[in-house]
């Protein structure tokens, strides 16, 4: 049986669990094993977007307007598709400048203005307080309802109770305490809270599971699925709003989507988890689809729950905002009701904790710090400011939650949950022009931003916040109906007579018009000053700079002074570590006696920015450094130079890449040349070697003839015969070398025409007939009838044939030699084979014999039978005409030399004229 004590204990246990998770994650982070450095955790932490408003309020909204709850989630889904541009840029800017809040972002963008940071903080606090009130209302209501289990009683009006009996007050105080424990246990220069993010991601899972559990119970436990519940609702007439064919076409559809898409990155808590707590830019890409998926999942059962609630409580006695809790209660599911309550609690606590931490950072850095800085100008500064900062933040958290409670007490009863949330959305939408505009437009100035934000905020106050007070009875209703002092044109919800819009659209239109109008107009009144130009460049060019543009500073400062300053706010140890890391990254040790350079000053300022905001950091650094202000001209000059240097370095990179490519090409060409050179050397040494052998024998025999006049005539004849033979061989060799050189160099002379292969073969046999007869060799031809014309040089082709035949003769055994010449035709070419029954050619030598000076007859140098150039030349000739020459030699069956020639065509140039050389003597080897 549920009851007050059990609910309270469970709530505390749940909060204790959250704290344990946060503690564990913090410990892991200290050990360098971060649990939140994971894209899924990042996406889940973004789901802090889904507050009690989503958890309880969506159902209420679905009851009111059918699918009207969806734009709040469809807008962020579409917006997420643009995160890879927008959120990425915001994160990069914020990381490089240690920006820790929206106020700091806007103030830093527009020249680090204290005034602007203060205004943004005020807007954020005033705008978000109703939203915090909403969470308090949800928690206290759900607690009260669950207390009365199994009865269903709506919580009475909070104002009717004495304040000390109001649950919401205790909820507010408890959450304040809890937030302080969570968020401000110590001061971190980067304002990151690992434990907090882990706890928030866990809460996102709890609320999703809880709402899904209730949804499953209702849809499949009470009804027979989606179709069944829709059917019954239709019969009860509940789907009218969805069936009237205009549910989407009214204007709120787009307005609410736009508001939500803005809010999902501009709400202080969203900025905190999406930008400040982001641990890696790469996490964005998972969040782009995982976060919308989360939104889809948490909304699937909203409509079924809304319909089931209306079917279960047809008299309207039960507030639709409580269906998620009251449906399980009505059906006696006490544990499901308890779980549902915890889901709502997690949705509310997650929002309150992150929101108040983000707001407290702003209040501390942008409202209290400037006042303190002014105060310290005349009085002595405390040595350790860390404690002061922490106290300020804790105070701010209490203050904000009490403000939220006050709003809840004053105005909370007049509105449903969704309307309260939309008031806050409209407030933070005022940041869009200065924040998103400022990321892409250089022209925005401090004055412009002040004017824009001021105008937008004023209209929001007048048209949305004041009416919410009026509806609560704090202002006369006539103020709403007929405007102040009876001026109808100034009626808050029909400003200048604009009627027929719902209040949110009305406010959004007027406030954004005034906001953007004032921002543009005032910014364009005068050119940005030096500081504004410098900061604009840092933001707009964030994706181009690898690191912040330093050098925009000139003056004198001591490193020790800077360190002492930073230590006051951050503690000595942290500052020492940070500076040590900084100088290590720069690769230079620092000398305390040396004056600090611009980069060091910039680093110190960025470090301080994390703790006290950019504007205050600027003031603090200026207090220890004698800064010489830079004029606009100088800033522009430095920025121009930076962009010129970037352009130069790009050009240089391009040039060096081209050079590298050229070098590689040259190196390759050189290697090729060296190879060719080597080949030439080899060739030359082979040629000279071949020349020397016949020369030696000619000389030897000539000397014998010269020295000895008594040699017999027969011998003389024999000697002279040898000399003549050797001379012939020399001539042949020289001719062939020349021939080969010409063919290889492409200067060979060719006379091309149609050649009949059959006729060519017969002619070659006739020419070599004497050789065959001398050696007693039998020649057989296998030439089929037909047309065997190819396109070639007749003399050259004959040269090849003669070479193949004379080779064959040389190697067949004397007396029993047998040579078979075959001609055959394929589809595209003809093949000629010359087969002999000689000793054959071993597999290893089959390619070698086509190389120059390689003989098929072994190393028989004393009596070489050929020059070793015949086959290489033959192969060159055949390949010249697009054919192929090769040898096969099955072991023990002699050698078969074959070539293929493509069938005749007139594709080759018809008249490569020129006289063919005297046909060379060709032989194998």
């Amino acid at each position: 049986m549920l009851g007050g004590p059990l609910i309270v204990v469970t709530s505390f246990l749940y909060l204790g669990l959250l704290f344990a998770i946060a503690y564990w994650a913090d410990r892991r982070a200290d050990q360098g094993r971060s649990v939140i450095a994971h894209p899924t955790v990042y996406a889940l932490s973004l789901a802090v977007y889904c507050t009690a408003w989503t958890y309880y309020g969506s159902v209420g909204r679905a009851v009111q307007s059918g699918i009207g709850f969806l734009p709040i989630y469809l807008g962020p889904t579409l917006g997420a598709a643009l995160w890879v541009f927008l959120l990425l840029k915001m994160i990069r800017v914020s990381k490089s400048q240690r920006i820790t809040s929206i106020a700091d972002f806007i103030s830093s963008r527009h020249g680090k203005s204290h005034l602007l940071g203060g205004l943004v903080t005020v807007i954020a606090v005033v705008g978000v307080v109703p939203y915090i009130a909403l969470q308090l209302k949800a928690v206290s209501n759900s607690f009260t309802i669950l207390m009365h289990y199994p009865d269903i009683t709506m919580p009475g009006s909070a104002t009717a109770l004495p304040i000390w009996q109001d649950t919401a007050l205790y909820v507010a105080l408890l959450l304040a305490l809890f937030t302080i424990l969570f968020g401000t246990r110590h001061l971190d220069a980067s304002e990151r809270h690992e434990g907090l993010v882990a706890a928030i991601a866990f809460e996102s899972i709890v609320k999703l599971v809880a709402l899904t559990a209730v949804g499953l119970f209702v849809t499949f436990g009470l009804y027979g699925g989606f179709a069944d519940i829709m059917q019954q609702a239709q019969e009860a007439g509940l789907l009218q709003s969805m069936m009237n064919a205009t549910s989407v076409s009214d204007q709120n559809w787009f307005t609410f989507s736009f508001l939500a898409a803005m809010a999902v990155i501009l709400l202080p808590r969203q900025f905190q988890v999406a930008v400040v707590e982001n641990s890696s830019e790469r996490h964005i890409s998972r969040a782009v689809w995982l976060f919308p998926l989360y939104l889809l999942l948490i909304n699937i059962f909203v409509l079924p729950i809304a319909l089931a609630g209306q079917l279960a409580f047809p008299d309207g006695r039960v507030d639709a905002d409580t269906f998620v809790l009251t449906l399980p209660i009505a059906h006696g599911q006490e544990w499901l009701a308890m779980f549902s309550y915890l889901g709502g609690l997690s949705a509310a606590t997650g929002m309150v904790i992150v929101e108040t931490i983000a707001l407290s950072t702003m209040v501390c850095n942008d409202l209290v710090m400037p006042v303190l800085l002014r105060h310290w100008r005349t009085r002595s500064v405390p040595a350790d400011l860390t404690a002061v900062l922490l106290r300020v933040r804790r105070g701010a958290i209490f203050g904000i939650l009490l403000l939220g409670y006050t709003y809840f007490h004053v105005a909370g009863e007049a509105y449903a949950l969704v309307s309260i949330g939309l008031i806050s959305f409209a407030a933070v939408a005022q940041f869009a022009p200065t924040m998103i505009g400022g990321l892409y437009w250089r022209g925005g100035t401090e004055a412009g931003a002040l004017a824009g934000l001021g105008a937008g905020f004023t209209i929001w106050l007048y048209t949305l916040l004041l009416p919410s007070f009026a509806k609560s009875g704090w202002l006369p209703m006539t103020f709403l109906d007929s405007g102040p002092f009876g001026i109808n044109l100034l009626a808050p919800q029909a400003l200048f007579g604009l009627q027929g819009m719902n209040e949110i659209s009305h406010t959004l239109f007027w406030s954004l018009t005034a906001n953007i109008g004032a921002y543009l107009t005032v910014s364009l009144l005068r050119p940005p000053n030096a500081e504004e130009t410098a900061q604009a460049s840092l933001f707009v060019d964030a994706m181009k700079y690898d690191r912040p543009a330093i050098g925009l500073w000139r003056g004198n400062a001591e490193v020790t002074e800077l360190k002492r300053l930073a230590s006051r706010f951050l503690g000595r140890d942290k500052v020492d570590t940070a500076f040590a890391e900084f100088s290590r990254n720069r690769g230079t040790g620092y000398n305390p006696a040396q004056p600090a350079d611009a980069e060091t000053v910039h680093f110190a300022e960025t470090l301080l920015t994390g703790a006290i905001g950019s504007a205050s950091a600027r003031v603090m650094v200026a207090s220890v450094a004698q800064e010489e202000p830079l004029g606009l001209e100088e800033v522009m000059g430095i920025l121009d130079e930076a962009s010129r240097i970037r352009a130069y370095s790009k050009e240089l990179e391009q040039k060096s890449r081209e050079l590298e490519a050229a070098t590689a090409e040259l190196r390759e060409a050189n290697t090729r040349l060296q190879e060719l050179d080597q080949l030439k050397d080899d060739f030359m040494s082979s040629v000279t070697h071949e020349l020397r052998t016949p020369l030696t024998s000619i000389r030897a025999f000539s000397e014998m003839l010269l020295d000895d006049p008594r040699i017999k005539l027969d011998d003389r004849k024999r000697f002279l015969g040898i000399i003549v033979g050797e001379t012939e061989r020399l001539t042949r060799l020289v001719n062939q070398v020349l021939d080969l050189a010409r063919i290889e160099s492409g200067r060979g002379e060719w006379t091309t025409g149609e050649v009949d292969l059959a006729q060519l073969i017969r002619q070659s046999i006739e020419t070599t007939g004497q050789l065959f007869r001398d050696k007693g060799t039998e020649v057989e031809t296998r030439i089929p009838e037909g047309d065997f014309r190819v396109w070639a040089d007749r003399d050259r082709l004959l040269q090849v044939m003669l070479n193949l035949l004379s080779n064959a003769v040389k190697f067949v055994p004397a007396g029993s030699g047998r040579i078979i010449i075959t001609l055959s035709g394929g589809d595209e070419d003809y093949q000629v084979s010359v087969a002999d029954n000689g000793p054959g050619i071993s597999a290893g030598q089959q390619e070698q014999i086509f190389e120059k000076f390689q003989r098929g007859d072994g190393d028989n140098l004393a009596n070489p039978m050929g020059t070793g150039l015949g086959l290489p030349i033959s192969r060159q000739i055949i390949e010249h005409f697009g054919g192929h020459l090769w040898v096969e030699s099955p072991p023990g069956k002699g050698a078969i030399f074959s070539f293929r020639m493509p069938k005749g065509s007139a594709k080759l140039p018809a008249s490569e004229t020129g006289s063919s050389d005297e046909p060379a003597y060709i032989d194998r080897g």
Binding site: L78, D228, V248
Partner: protein, 66 residues
Amino acid sequence: MRRAILTSQRLLAVFLTGMLLLFSPIVSLFDRPLFWLGIPMIYLYLFSVWAILIAAMALIISSSQK
């Protein structure tokens, strides 16, 4: 780097498709008092478009990380 640009342009295309399917007169084609599979047509349409957009984004992201 070129790959990252391609991914972001594909996501931009998803954004424009979503704008078209959710915020143009196309929605009114489905905003009719009809039931599909026992579920109001507009409700089913919106959730389907929503799911398809998410799937498209997931697909684009996962293909960019290969």
